[in-house]
Symmetry: C2
Subunit: 187 residues, 2 copies
DNA sequence: GTCTATACACAGATAGAC
DNA sequence: GTCTATCTGTGTATAGAC
């Protein structure tokens, strides 16, 4: 993979998370990366190819983030706290959201491949969250866990909704405000 | 307001909530309503005018929904349950989201007026939710309420995030799954 | 109030030179 | 691998007839 290809993926991810799938063009990427837009087609023949590659790269990167969290923290509470921090830092200054959130709005304009990749990503997150709530319930570091799978579904919706709130208000502290109750349950 | 204008507003709202602000065009509306796209400019000179009108109409309609809920239910728990049902039914078959959610992704492409209207809408919802959690805490119909304002912020994020989940999976029951924990707190 | 016709910008994409 | 040049479709918006 050449530097140009990586630069394109990075630029496309940022653009998608800032402006949505429909909100960025090859012209934007070309200006950002410093090549002509025709050259992008050499690396990604169609925008659908680029979009799928961005999603896959994002999935791998986030899986690594989860692995790093698991390696760095042992209790469920500490792991969940670290995940919340990861979503928080992904906000930037309140202008970005998770790739899944950005794509779900443009759902009808993206290909089946990308939709499937979005489903895979969410499934991975739900499984990680379920395991983390189960662990936090066992070690007593997450309060009031009755149903870990239900907690996981609610937590993912809360994390994504909090990102939306921060973006809508262009204020990352709106994320913190939405997560305050959840955070207060972590020991 | 003529029938055509109302039809345009209705069509535009549905399109925005289904495909996002960047995802529908005057051509789409024209085909849906049954006039030519040039005729739309007679009612809404620019797309920004149409978008603002859709947002304002939505705000008024949702405020009326909240009023109807307050008139029909006395306890905090029953009112919150009714609001959850309202968000649930707004999903359609999993293809639509709340207008705020749909617009927040396209935030950089919409005008200042519309952004301000989005902020007004969210503020109204937060105030209604805070009052409802306060009431539910007082009458004992919502369990474990420590901070009504914090509950309101978390609940709004959860509702919006649950809509995203349902849309991503094209399955309205994903909304129910994300709200299950919250619903179990209502007496 | 709606139409046809059109202007203008920009989208994604391709051909072919270098 | 990148470029210039170009194609085709579509977007918003306008002019002027009916």
């Amino acid at each position: 993979m050449t530097d140009t290809k990586t630069a394109l993926l990075r630029s496309a991810e940022r653009a998608a998370r800032t402006k949505g799938f429909d909100g960025f063009s090859y012209a934007d990427l070309a200006a950002d990366v410093g090549i002509r837009k025709a050259s992008i087609h050499h690396h990604f023949p169609a925008k659908a190819d680029l979009t799928l590659a961005v999603m896959q790269r994002y999935h791998v990167a986030f899986a690594e983030t989860c692995d790093r969290i698991d390696a760095a923290h042992t209790t469920g509470g500490a792991r969940l706290h670290a995940l919340i921090a990861a979503y928080r830092s992904a906000l930037g200054n309140g202008e970005m959201v998770c790739l899944c959130v950005a794509f779900s709005i443009s759902r009808d304009h993206i290909t089946t491949d990308v939709r499937a990749a979005m489903g895979d990503f969410r499934q991975m997150m739900l499984e990680w969250l379920t395991a983390t709530f189960t662990r936090g319930n066992g070690d007593g570091t997450i309060a009031q866990v009755a149903d870990p799978a239900a907690e996981a579904r609610a937590a993912l919706a809360l994390l994504e909704g909090a990102q939306l709130a921060a973006r809508t208000q262009a204020d990352p502290t709106a994320f913190d405000a939405a997560l305050a109750l959840m955070s207060s349950r972590l020991g």
